[in-house]
Amino acid sequence: MIEIRFHGRGGQGAVTSAELTALAAIEQGKYAQAFPSFGPERRGAPVMAYVRVSDEPIRTREKIYEPDIVVVLDPTLLGIVNVAAGLKEDGVVVLNTTKSAEEIRERSGITAKLALVDASRIAMETMGIPITNTTLLGAMLKATDLLPLSALEGPLQERFGRIAVKNIQASQRAYQETVVKE
């Protein structure tokens, strides 16, 4: 079972990222659970959302304490939130950033594998808005073998309708541009 934690700020689409990941996994015949951190929703405040993906039925309702994958939508969260909290030793942190791996490690103390992508720029260039949630899904799939990139197309199509194509393009560009640093 793979456990994922998304960090974002209220309104950036972290919950949608989690939902889309679960929907994509379920469409591939897998089992999945997506859930937000339950409670009041506040725009701009640090928020988290969670996903479990497994080949077997998932029988736990615990919160996720030791994720395999952490995805950070907002670069300003580094240094505010301990995004690598509980991350498994062989886990990966997927970051929206313009900084180098060295700078990130120095600033955040993260020693785990990093997957870096300038998702804000990709989102602006492909969609015209700095909403990076679907872009970062492409980066996450590049850094892991969770699902094939094409698994996102169905759920993105269903969720976004006529603007789905731009979201798909953004995730594909992120998939190509993501740099993985062990």
């Binding site: 679960a22 999945a32 998932i58 736990t60 309702r61 615990e62 919160k63």
Partner: protein, 391 residues
Amino acid sequence: MAKRVGIEVSIAVSEAVKLANVDVVAAYPITPQTHIVEHLAELVADGHLDAEFIPVESEHSAMSTCCGSSAAGARTYTATSSQGQALMLEICYIAPALRLPIVMTVANRSLSGPISIWNDHSDMMMSRDTGWIQTVAENGQEAFDLTLHAFRVAEDSRVLLPVIINLDGFTLTHVIEPIEILDQKEVDRYLPPYQPQMRLDPEDPVSIGPVGMPEVYTEAKKAQDEAIKGSKEVILEAWQEFGDLFGRYYKPVETYRTDGAETLLVTMGSLSETAMTAVDHMRAKGKDVGLVRIRLFRPFPFEEFLAAVEGAKQIAVMDRALCLNGAGGPLAIEVKAALYDEPERPYIWNYVAGLAGRDVTIENFVEMADGVEAAAADGLRGDYTMINVRE
């Protein structure tokens, strides 16, 4: 053909209500029930569900409206949580007394105070004695299936009682997971149209709900008590038929790896899944622990429960509500009462856990199993303690 989809559990519940082809939905939104009612409002507004959606000004009005529409012969649904249910409670006692087959989802949430929107079973326990049939869902699929089952049972002419489907707020309502959604033809085979036995009709007037003078009140209550006791047979029959049609069989009490188990955990609701994983962990380490999950809370399935715990030396009962200064949590009290007349009784320790969304982990269930064994070995007088509490 049924279709396996990734869907939020709340939305799946609304889809089940739509497939049940309800006539009236009267509801007031409250967290964490909101998505269910919002989606139903949308289905009605978009013409996908031919029903009256009555946006009322309070839950008291919601249940009053449901009583009216059900008495007029309409298939009637509502949903609520916590404080909302507290507000409608006055009318919740009246619906079963009038034998009105209303179906209600309760997205379980703690009762104030302190004010809390998070999940526990205090609202379920608040309505324990209202006379509603109550089932408890463990996951999204069950929430969907039990919704259809609820209409089938409630409207059966041998039952005619309202049914609550309990599902854990947030922990289930706000989770996306794979659920097999039945199609209309399949649901129609299981759930026939509602045939009211008696209804409010200006052409053929009757009185429903007159005063119960001391000369008749006791007899009315005796009849109501018999009705809910007698409903169990129909509840089982409706589950059997559901299984025969769709391959998912449900029982009022489910067991998990109880064979040869000296220690049993007893749970209700979605945390039973976490408990199953905890049992797997303990079994892997050679510990003889099993799990008993209660799916039917009212009428309480005494016979099935006793059969499920037979042979156990000690039982850890998890409650997700307090019965302040009582003999334990409400479920433990029920379990103890069920066992009192047995010649051989297991040792019981009661754990109150998961109040207002406090996480209950796999490790916590291991703690409960270890705890009841230690308390039994030490010969402590059975009591209740809280898990995960800072003192």
